[in-house]
């Protein structure tokens, strides 16, 4: 029988610990257990056999750390092929032996399987570590592709700490089997590690793991290692409640502690087996052990749980999306999706996209999060830019600064696939519609990567004006999605809000569709609500009431502007009035915020003339200079700097233009001198880095105001020159480089920031492409200085016109000379000075 035939029908038992058993047999600390496949094959066969004998149905091949990074085949090391080949020979031999024995036993043949076992690839993925997501996939693929040739029954990915790595591993497994005939495709199982707080080390809860892994289509999931069965109990319960696939539980025998000179584990075999058998009663369908367990633990476990019936798995129908650390459920309280990362109708945003201004886009995301958005829509489509690259860049960057799940919003299937691939979590996907061609291209992508799919009620004939027409399309989408294996719970219908200004019945049709989907299918719906008010004055009035009506009709989510007080008011009040705000705490909190905002708005309206006084007050009285803008910048006060800049640019309230300054005057007479003061005071150690950075930020606020004015007047700001910045290959420290960047930007240089861990070739490519005159390289570790030297050498050869300045903790003037840099800059201010020197000549 195939292992798949047992899934959901009977409980199968894994083996237990390998490392602890091998240590007892003489495995040296630091020695690779996988080497024993070749050096002590008999011991490994015995290890497997003993587990089979104890009652294990599945043994794990001794390939936990089998990656080509470790087993290179060079310098006397074994190759990955050799290790995996030997591991499977041992496992198969053990199986042959036990099958012989089974034949003789009274109970007859038992299910005996071999799992192709792998653990973590040993490196942390970007942005936390230095491994690219795609490189992680490749690493796993290499191991799987060799392992699959040995005819394992199951792939087991285990002891994974990071959900992002879990995704890479599962994708690798799937892709290795994509081209195999159906009968050759074996199940993929994965167990991850949790701490006592029921989170993975990167912060994922059991529910998040389930959402992401089931989205990726794993056949079984669960947990192993790190905890004993006692600590696992609440986590197992949550996994069982969330999962629709079989759950695996492989606990440690507690934690090791020293007792006298001996190492003991918390939990003995008897207690262990009792506790784990309980898990089986509760519904776990795979059970075994991890560190500290041995065949005795498994024997006792099989004695207690071997005859238990497999509990039937209820199919769960929660509609959820996640980031790596946050989960959002649809169908209860309406979900707010921030719409601001979208160029439609936003001039500034379009410009940010054209200029590759990622910080602007990130800020839009963070602001929306602060205002209460629960999901961020990401739409970066603009005809003149490379949408795919921009989308993946923005997704990568956004997921490093926000915990919110994202909505991947694109009509291009390639962009959609690339973004879903690198997305850390289960995304909201916008969108599919009722057109056959679109469904054909989008459903397979969502099936492969997982996701909650926004489905528009539009098809080849356009948008139906009637409720019936839209429902018909929604039903068609449900049906077609099911054919691809996508459940209704992973579909969210968008009945499309249309402008009431062009069709006064438009609101009704949409609302009725929302209601019908909810009542007939208990289905989820989503609306881009602001479309409804298009073409009308004071749009917020219409939009917010429409939003309220839609929620009353059962709307699950709205794509909206969280910066709009009216919208937040509608949402908060709706929750309070529909019994979803315990003791009105949500409303009271909102009311306080509302009052504060109103007061600020009033104060701003009344100010104008008072701005000068306010700025001066805020900046304190003791500074050397009395100029409010200079003071605001040197002190690092963002708001005061912006306000003062605005005041200087505009005529006085009485129309007097005498004190009005031009943008260039402000830059040259105020901002630059202020930055110089801040820089000097830092150099003289009268102030410290945080204040210097705050000054830079304040100057940025002033620049933002100036830019707004210049944009209105259509004046192009002078850019002094473009500089490439990078932290060199192998080095992942970029704080220093980022500081230099902030300062240089303030001095009107255009910065092309290539990030950290950058290949020399990539730097050269950029320099040649844009004829760059100055490159700044940063390195923090002595070990990465050679990479810096290599980069400079390459630049000298192929871009001799380019100057290079270097900085970072380990560098000195002498070092810089040695590696042929043009200048050593000991801090950000020196870099600015050098840049000015280079571009003046």
């Amino acid at each position: 029988m195939n292992i798949r035939d047992y899934f959901g029908k009977s409980i199968l038992f894994f083996d237990g610990g390998t490392g602890s058993v091998l240590q007892g047999l003489g495995l040296k600390p630091g020695e690779f257990p996988e080497n024993w496949n070749i050096e002590h094959p008999d011991e490994i066969v015995k290890l497997h056999y003993n587990y089979y004998l104890a009652g294990s149905n599945i043994i794990k091949s001794n390939t936990f750390g089998a990656f080509e990074t470790k087993f290179t085949g060079a310098e006397g090391k074994y190759s990955l092929e050799q290790i995996i080949d030997a591991a499977f020979k041992n496992a198969q031999k053990a199986r042959e032996l036990i099958e012989e024995k089974d034949k003789e036993s009274k109970e007859g043949q038992k299910p005996r399987f071999i799992a192709l076992d792998v653990g973590s690839c040993g490196k942390l993925l970007k942005p936390l570590g230095d491994l690219e997501f795609e490189d992680a996939v490749t690493l796993f693929k290499k191991t799987f592709s060799i392992g699959l040739k040995k005819n394992p029954d199951l792939i087991l990915i285990e002891t994974i700490n990071d959900i992002y790595e879990a995704k890479a591993a599962v994708l690798a497994a799937k892709e290795c089997m994509e081209n195999l005939p159906q009968e050759k495709r074996i199940p993929i199982a994965i167990t991850t590690v949790y701490d006592e707080g029921a989170k993975s080390l990167t912060g994922s809860t059991p529910e998040i793991m389930v959402a992401v892994l089931e989205g990726l289509g794993v056949d079984a999931l669960g947990l192993n290692c790190s905890l004993g069965p006692v600590q696992m109990k609440p986590i197992v319960k949550r996994l069982l409640e969330a999962a629709s696939v079989p759950v695996i539980v492989n606990p440690n025998a507690g934690l090791p502690r020293s007792e006298g000179n001996k190492t003991v584990y918390d939990v003995e075999a008897e207690e262990f087996s009792e506790l784990v058998a309980e898990f089986c009663k509760d519904g776990a369908l795979f059970a075994g052990g991890c560190c500290g367990t041995n065949p005795l633990y498994i024997k006792k476990l099989v004695e207690k749980a071997g005859k238990l019936p497999a509990k039937k798995i209820e199919k769960k129908t929660r509609s959820v999306i996640t980031s790596g650390t946050k989960i959002v459920e649809f169908g209860n309280v309406p979900v707010l999706i921030g719409e601001r990362i979208n160029p439609t109708g936003k001039k500034k945003f379009k410009e940010a996209l054209r200029n590759n201004d990622i910080p602007y886009i990130l800020n839009e995301g963070i602001t929306q999060e602060e205002k209460g958005a629960q999901v961020l829509d990401v739409n970066v489509g603009l005809p003149e830019i490379d949408e795919c690259k921009m989308m993946t860049d923005v997704v990568k960057e956004l997921q490093s600064v926000t915990d919110l799940p994202l909505q991947i919003d694109t009509s291009d299937p390639i962009t959609m696939e690339k973004a879903l691939r690198i997305y850390n979590g289960k995304a909201l996907v916008n969108s599919v519609n009722g057109k056959e061609e679109i469904m054909k291209s989008v459903f397979p992508i969502v099936k492969k990567y997982g996701g909650l799919l926004v489905s528009l009620t539009i098809d080849e004939d356009g948008i139906p004006t009637t409720t019936e027409g839209r429902i018909k399309i929604a039903e068609k989408i449900y049906k077609r999605a099911a054919e691809y294996g996508i459940d209704k719970s992973d579909i969210i219908i968008d009945p499309l809000a249309m402008a009431v200004s062009s069709d006064d019945q438009a609101g009704i049709a949409t609302l009725q569709t929302v209601k019908y989907i909810k009542e007939k299918y208990n289905g989820n719906t989503i609306l881009g609500v602001s479309n409804v008010s298009f073409g009308l004055p004071l749009r917020e009035h219409i939009t917010s009431i429409f939003f309220t009506m839609a929620m009353q009709n059962g709307l699950s989510a709205a794509i909206m502007n969280p910066n709009s007080m009216e919208m937040m008011k509608a949402w908060t009040c709706f929750k309070t009035l529909s019994g979803k705000d315990s003791q009105c705490t949500g409303y009271i909190e909102f009311a306080q915020k509302y009052e504060q905002t109103m007061q600020t708005v009033q104060a701003q309206n009344a100010s104008g003339a008072n701005a000068n006084a306010t700025a001066a007050n805020q900046t304190g009285q003791n500074s050397e200079t009395a100029d409010p803008l200079i003071k605001a910048i040197t002190k690092g006060l963002n708001d005061a700097a912006a306000k003062e800049t605005r005041r200087l640019l505009e005529p006085a309230p009485d129309g007097n233009t005498e004190n009005q300054l031009s943008p260039m005057q402000i830059i040259n007479e105020k901002i630059i001198p202020a930055l110089d003061i801040a820089g000097k005071s830092f150099e003289e150690k009268r102030t410290y880095l945080p204040q210097l950075l705050m000054s830079a930020e304040a100057a940025k606020s002033a620049f933002t105001v100036i830019k707004e004015i210049l944009d209105k007047a259509d004046v192009k700001q002078e850019i002094k020159g473009a500089i490439v910045l990078a932290t060199v290959k192998g080095d992942i420290h970029d704080i220093g480089k980022n500081i230099v960047k902030v300062l240089l930007e303030n001095y009107s240089f255009k910065i092309i920031d290539l990030g950290k861990d950058v290949e020399p070739e990539k730097i050269l490519e950029e320099v040649v492409k844009s004829k760059i005159k100055l490159v700044g390289l940063s390195a923090l570790m002595t070990t990465t200085v050679p990479a810096m030297a290599e980069t400079i050498k390459l630049l000298r050869k192929d871009a001799p016109w380019c100057k290079v300045c270097v900085g970072g903790a380990v560098l000195t003037k002498e070092y810089a000379q040695m590696i042929d840099a043009d200048r050593y800059c000991k801090d950000a201010m020196e870099t600015v000075k050098y840049a000015q020197e280079v571009f003046e000549n």
């Binding site: 880095l689 945080p690 902030v742 002595t782």
Partner: protein, 228 residues
């Protein structure tokens, strides 16, 4: 580095250690020092910067997940005869089947009969918070960075106190910790720490090709054990 057989396998168990964030000592002055402030600078600093430092300590203190792995070996050291007088003389250090030469670590371990190797980390959430702040609030990221540095040292102290208490019962004391990469102990030694302590599996701590650890707020170190 030559590898010998381990004499006593029981001594080669990797132990895990955890600490609650509330157990760690918070030292704002130390944090300010890591942010680049001099003693005078701290004394003269405006209140708002001290507040930022305190906020940073609070924020980072709330997200750290302190975990460590350690291993204890019997230790043998052989000093060159002229060790005391010749600056180039070495000590040969042997433990756990590993033999290597170092002068500086030899000085640190003088008189020791056993050694701990440990790896400690604050977990990945700290790195994430620092990265995030660097993009939206650079000044705060400096304080976060400093708070991380302060807390990992604080955790190492905590761990060492715990080990010292255990050793004290048997009449041993601990020497100050010594990390690879310092003096004449190559950073290459990180690989040995990672192999011995199975840092990836036990702590989700990883080493990149330039021997930098991720999560970044992590420490590996030797700690000598000496008869009182």
């Amino acid at each position: 580095m030559e590898e010998n057989k381990i004499q006593n396998i029981k001594d080669a168990t990797v132990f895990l250690h955890r600490a609650k964030n509330t157990e760690l000592h918070t030292d704002i002055n130390e944090l300010m020092r890591y942010a680049g402030y001099s003693k005078q600078g701290i004394a003269d600093s405006e209140a708002r910067f001290l507040e930022m430092a305190e906020d940073a300590a609070k924020k980072i203190g709330s997200i750290i997940n302190c975990r460590a792995a350690y291993i204890r070996f019997p230790l043998e050291i052989h000093f060159d005869k002229d060790f005391k007088t010749n600056q180039n003389a070495k000590a040969v250090i042997k433990f756990g089947g590993i033999t290597f030469e170092s002068r500086f670590l030899g000085i640190n371990l003088e008189g020791c009969s056993a050694i701990y190797l440990f790896a400690a980390t604050l977990g990945p959430a700290v790195d994430k918070e620092i990265q995030k702040a660097a993009k939206i609030n650079p000044a705060m990221s400096v304080f976060y960075q400093a708070a991380g540095a302060m807390y990992i040292e604080s955790y190492c102290d905590f761990l060492q106190n715990f080990l010292a208490e255990n050793e004290q019962k048997n009449g041993f004391i601990l020497k100050p910790r010594y990390s690879p990469g310092f003096g004449d102990v190559s950073l290459e030694f990180q690989k040995t720490f990672f192999n011995l302590l199975q840092c990836q599996k036990n702590l989700a701590l990883t080493l990149n090709n330039s021997l930098i650890m991720s999560p970044e707020k992590s420490v590996t170190a030797f700690v000598g054990i000496k008869k009182k």
